[in-house]
Symmetry: C2
C-alpha cells in the first residue's frame, strides 16, 4: 500500500484505478501541502516533497496544469486558482480570435519512499498530453479544463470522452510511470 | 537604516522615496524570497517572513496584487505571473462587456525587526486603493497594471499620473504605516 496526498477526490479516484491494475492498493491522505509560486510544476513539487513527513510508507503528491502556447503558458502552474476565478469561460474569452490553439496538459508526480522502498528522495515522474483548446465548452465528465481540451488526434474534449481521458491523460501517464517504478517493491517476483 | 528585500527596482525606488521623508535610509536586498500559493497576500507574506534571516537590522518584504470584483478577485495573489503571461491586454479582454469594473489594489508589507527594533515577529502593514478597470490601456509611467487602473475619484490611470500614484497608492499606504511604526526607533526624540 502507498499513499496519495491530495485533497482532490477526482484525482484520487483516477489514481486508485491505475494502481489497481498493478495490484497496488492506494490510500488517501486528504490534505493539502505547501505549494510555492514557481515557474514550473517540477519546482512546486520538489519544494513540496521537502514538507512530506516520513509515515513509514511510500507517499506521493501530484500537481498538474494546462499550458496554452498563445497565452505564454497561462494558466500553467496556477491552473487551479485560475479555474476557480475566471474559469473555462475566461479562457475561451482570452482565446477568441486566436489562431494557434495548441496547449499541453502536464502532470508532475513527486514520490517519497520510506521503509521497503529505501529512502528515495524527490523522485519525479512526468506525464503530458498535447492538444488544442476548443472553441466552446463541451461535455460534462471529468473536471477543471477537461471540457475545453481536445487531445491531439481526437475530436472530442476530455469531458466528452472520459474513457479516452482515463487512457491517455497526462496524469495517467505520470502516475503509470510511478506505478511501474514501485511495482517490484510491492509485488516482488 | 533598514532593508527592503525585493528584486523589483520599481518597488524599491517607490519605497526609498517614502522613507526619505522620515529621514530613514533604505537599503535593498535584491533577492526573491519564498512565495507560497495562497488565497491572500497576507498568507504569502506571513509565510515568507519565516524565511527571512536575521541580518541584525530591520528587513521588510512587500507583496501586492490587483483584485477585480467581476473576476472573483483575479489576478489577485498571482498578479505578477498573470501580468507576465496574458498582460493588460488579457485583462481588458476578460473585462469586455463587463459592467462592474470595480477593483482594489492591495499591498501587504511584512516587517521583521532585529537589534534596535526588538524582535518583532511578523509585523504586517496593509494598504489599499479602490478604483476601476479602464476600457483601454492609458499612460506610460509606473509598471504592471498601472495603465489600466483608475483610482476612485479620479479620471486618469496610475500610468497617466505618476505623481498621483506616488501620493495615494496601495504600496504608499502600506509602506507609510511601516515608516511611522519604525520612525521612533530610528529617530528617537
Amino acid at each position: 500500500m502507498i499513499y496519495f496526498k491530495t485533497s482532490n477526490p477526482h484525482k484520487f479516484d483516477e489514481a486508485k484505478e491505475i494502481f489497481k491494475r498493478y495490484g497496488i492498493e492506494l490510500g488517501q491522505i486528504p490534505e493539502t501541502y505547501r505549494e510555492i509560486q514557481a515557474d514550473s510544476l517540477e519546482e512546486v513539487v520538489k519544494d513540496a516533497l521537502k514538507t512530506i513527513e516520513n509515515i513509514g510508507r511510500g507517499v506521493f503528491i501530484e500537481d498538474a496544469g494546462l499550458f496554452i502556447k498563445a497565452l505564454n503558458g497561462f494558466p500553467g502552474v496556477y491552473s487551479s486558482y485560475i479555474e476557480n476565478t475566471i474559469g473555462n469561460d475566461g479562457i475561451l474569452k482570452l482565446m477568441e480570435d486566436v489562431d494557434d490553439r495548441s496547449a499541453v496538459f502536464m502532470s508532475v508526480v513527486g514520490f517519497k519512499g520510506f521503509k521497503g522502498f529505501r529512502d528515495f528522495d524527490a523522485m519525479i515522474f512526468k506525464g503530458e498530453v498535447k492538444g488544442e483548446i476548443a472553441f466552446e465548452s463541451r461535455g460534462t465528465e471529468g473536471f477543471g479544463y477537461d471540457p475545453i481540451f481536445i487531445p491531439e488526434g481526437y475530436k472530442k474534449t476530455f469531458a466528452e470522452d472520459f474513457e479516452l481521458k482515463t487512457r491517455i491523460s497526462h496524469r495517467r501517464r505520470a502516475i503509470e510511470k510511478l506505478a511501474r517504478f514501485i511495482n517490484p517493491f510491492i509485488n516482488p517476483r
